[in-house]
Symmetry: C2
């Protein structure tokens, strides 16, 4: 395997109230209800046609303030290390973030959304319709479920 | 907005039975049950620790055979054009694919999974645990639901 770098150009930027990562609720169990908008490049606005029909969107974006990565990370809601691919830690080999947001409305090249967890100015790579869910009953959530159980026992 | 390109290096490659896109079930309603494995770069294997505890993973990858993009596309299961960001069409401004797969088992740097819809040799950008679902009752699926209803009426 001799991987070649692949280059992407942002399709737009996140406009949120978060100016500092310390303001963003952290950890896998955190709830995100912040509102803001996704400002898409004017030349790409025709690509948003019909997006209003979807209630939820998947946003792919860049952790643009992160440099370097770790392979073993200890998440904020746990006290032991896990492989970075078993977490959503920002300092990953390719610092790409994924957020599911609720689409409130579209105004031209702006998508007003709820559920942001990105800094203001975050570069957006792609937006896709959120289509279907894996039933909760079929999900296993590994160390996260164990960590939640431990934290609950401490309460 | 003056976007700067951002460069990523694949963390590994998809190993699937699909040698040609014609073999892959298409359209937003398609069901994917193909098995195969995600071969992660040996230097990144420590990043897979504890991933076995999760039943489902989100895989971000590159439509590596696609060149260029369209802003208005007519999907295989519909007869009218939609904005590319309201579809999962490959020829998008940043040709990044997203697939939710079921993790069967891990063997070293190989993640055996079910639900692949990528070509053999597809570069992988990132892997994340699939954590929670938006309840189906809360989802609106825009033109896709309308298209499904029209197709059903034709049967």
């Amino acid at each position: 395997m001799s991987p070649e770098p692949i280059s992407f150009t942002p399709i737009g930027y996140v406009r949120s109230a978060y100016g500092d990562t310390a303001e963003i609720p952290k950890g896998l169990g955190a709830t995100h209800v912040a509102e803001g908008f996704l400002e898409i490049r004017p030349d790409l606005e025709p690509g948003l046609a019909d997006i209003d029909g979807f209630s939820h969107l998947v946003v792919l974006w860049v952790f643009h303030r992160v440099e370097g990565y770790q392979l073993a990370v200890t998440p904020p809601n746990d006290d032991r290390p896990h492989g970075v691919f078993a977490t959503r830690f920002p300092g990953r080999p390719n610092p790409i973030g994924l957020t599911n947001v609720e689409l409130i409305r579209r105004e031209g090249n702006r998508l007003y959304v709820r559920g942001l967890d990105m800094l203001d100015g975050t570069p957006i790579l792609d937006i896709k319709p959120y289509l279907s869910s894996i039933p909760e009953a079929k999900l296993r959530r590994g160390w996260l479920a164990e960590s939640e159980a431990r934290n609950k026992a401490k309460e």
